[in-house]
Amino acid sequence: MTSVVLEGVSKVFNAGRADEVTALTGVDLTVARGEFVSLIGPSGCGKSTLLRLVGDLIQPTSGAITVAGKSARTARVDQEYGIAFQQAGLFDWRTVQRNVELPLELRGSPRQERHDRAREMLDLVGLAEFAGHYPAQLSGGMQQRVAIARALAVHPPLLLMDEPFGALDEMTRERLQDELLRICASTGTSTIFVTHSIPEAVYLSDRVVVMSARPGRITEVVPVDLGPRTEATRQSPGFFAGITKVRKALRGDPVPAAEPLVAP
């Protein structure tokens, strides 16, 4: 069962003008249900563009995008995905609770259901006792967790994340990574995750999609199999091997079939 299918997708900004930019070209990608896929690459390689295409926030110049078996537009209208950005983007005139309720409100869910669902999501990200607070009263990490709760509120089968932990300190970041994996595992959500960090991509993903710039395209897909993540995973040889593979792919070196296990 597939969650997302991209076939021959390309995106050209300002087509036909002097400042024409080919952001993406010839992208084929399939994300299976429940799979965690990271997009990694240098700035300007079009990974955020790719994410926005899947979310139907922008339209492709050519190619086809299918989300949950429907066109990207229909999937957006049906709220088949939740999205989170680098900034939490909470509405500062709403309490934490009401921020998480927002997507449910726009979907027209009844009051009681909204309330219960938002509570459940805040429990999931460990912020139940902050439901009545305003965003300005929370730390950056807590705001980001609220944003994730909001993205998950409609129980979407797909989660789109654009560098959601990019602005956080390393400790918060690692804690939220573990939390995200736990949430995705418990809800069976498929995830497309844009990041700049190689260790983050390797730690979180089932597959790391490596991209390059000018024109933006997929150069390599690195499968990662670290099993269930534990405390030891971040020190395991498999983790470092994955990092090496992704790093080489980013540099454009050919990856040998049998990669030796070397710590960097």
């Binding site: 926005r52 926030l57 957006r76 209208v77 005139w93 726009l106 305003y134 009263q137």
Partner: protein, 285 residues
């Protein structure tokens, strides 16, 4: 409580400082004013130009004309008459401003086409505009009701009040970050729901400063409108009438000015109260 007390003390203090400055200058200034190179740089301080504060206050208690109503009552009634124009002009002006801002936000082409005219509208001198509005009004009737002079005054108040709201709200409606707009799009929220759930709440920090400016502009517009259209019954008319008696009864014109100032303060206080009521629900970090 402590904060409120300090606020009240600050208000009383400001009035006392104002009185002290007035009386202080009157005590030390040259009665004929200070003239430098043929130009008067400081005003006269004699009782005709600057009556004592207590003279003005006691004038409030005396009848307007021999045997008539006490002047405080006349000024109060005039202020209430003007308040009608101010209130209707302010509310209608705020609505017009809001509508224009929403239109300009919705369609860039409207913003580009309309905004210059909105700004241009405020450069037309009010004194020139007022008789024109009064003249147009004289040929209008709302159903069976003939156009009243105070309606022209209301239109002038509206004309000044809409501007700060239109400009301020346009900024406010455009203030949400791009990701907030993408978020609303990801929820499949259309233009109207994005307006209600995102743009309008996001613009309240811009709305209230704009409303305070609009309130002040509505008061100025109404008073100046009354003066320049010669509308009877309002405080603007009183200022004109009483200033004709300035040589024989200098304190009288100051009672009308105090009345106009009090009207401005009252309208500002109403806007402040509205802001307080809305603000209570907002961030208390």
């Amino acid at each position: 409580m402590n904060r409120r007390l300090r606020l009240a003390l600050g208000g009383v203090g400001a009035v006392l400082v104002g009185v002290a400055l007035w009386e202080g200058y009157k005590a030390v200034g040259d009665p004929d004013g200070t003239v430098l190179f043929g130009a008067r740089v400081l005003p006269r301080t004699d009782d005709a130009a600057m009556p004592h504060v207590w003279t003005v206050l006691s004038r409030f208690g005396d009848p307007e004309l021999a045997g008539g109503d006490p002047i405080w009552l006349v000024v109060l009634q005039a202020c209430l008459f003007t308040l009608r124009s101010v209130a209707i002009g302010f509310v209608a002006g705020a609505l017009v401003g809001l509508l224009l801002a929403v239109l300009m936000q919705r369609l860039r082409v409207v913003e580009r086409g309309l905004l210059p005219y909105v700004i241009l509208s405020q450069t037309v001198p009010l004194i020139a505009l007022a008789p024109v509005i009064a003249g147009w009004g004289g040929r209008l009737a709302i159903g069976p009701y003939p156009w009243q002079p105070w309606m022209s005054v209301t239109v002038i108040a509206l004309y000044l009040a809409f501007f700060p709201v239109a400009v301020g709200m346009l900024r406010g409606l455009q203030s949400p970050a791009p990701i907030a707009e993408e978020l609303m799009r990801s929820y499949a929220a259309g233009w109207w729901r994005t307006l209600v759930k995102l743009r309008l709440p996001a613009s309240t920090p811009y709305l209230f400063p704009a409303l305070r400016l609009a309130a002040a502009a509505a008061v100025v517009g109404a008073v100046v409108g009354e003066i320049s259209t010669g509308t009877r019954g309002g405080v603007g008319r009183l200022v004109i009438e009483y200033s004709r008696e300035a040589t024989t009864d200098p304190a009288k014109v100051f009672t009308a000015m105090v009345g106009a100032a009090a009207l401005g303060l009252a309208v500002a206080a109403i806007v402040g109260l509205g802001e307080f009521l809305v603000g209570r629900r907002r961030v208390r970090a």
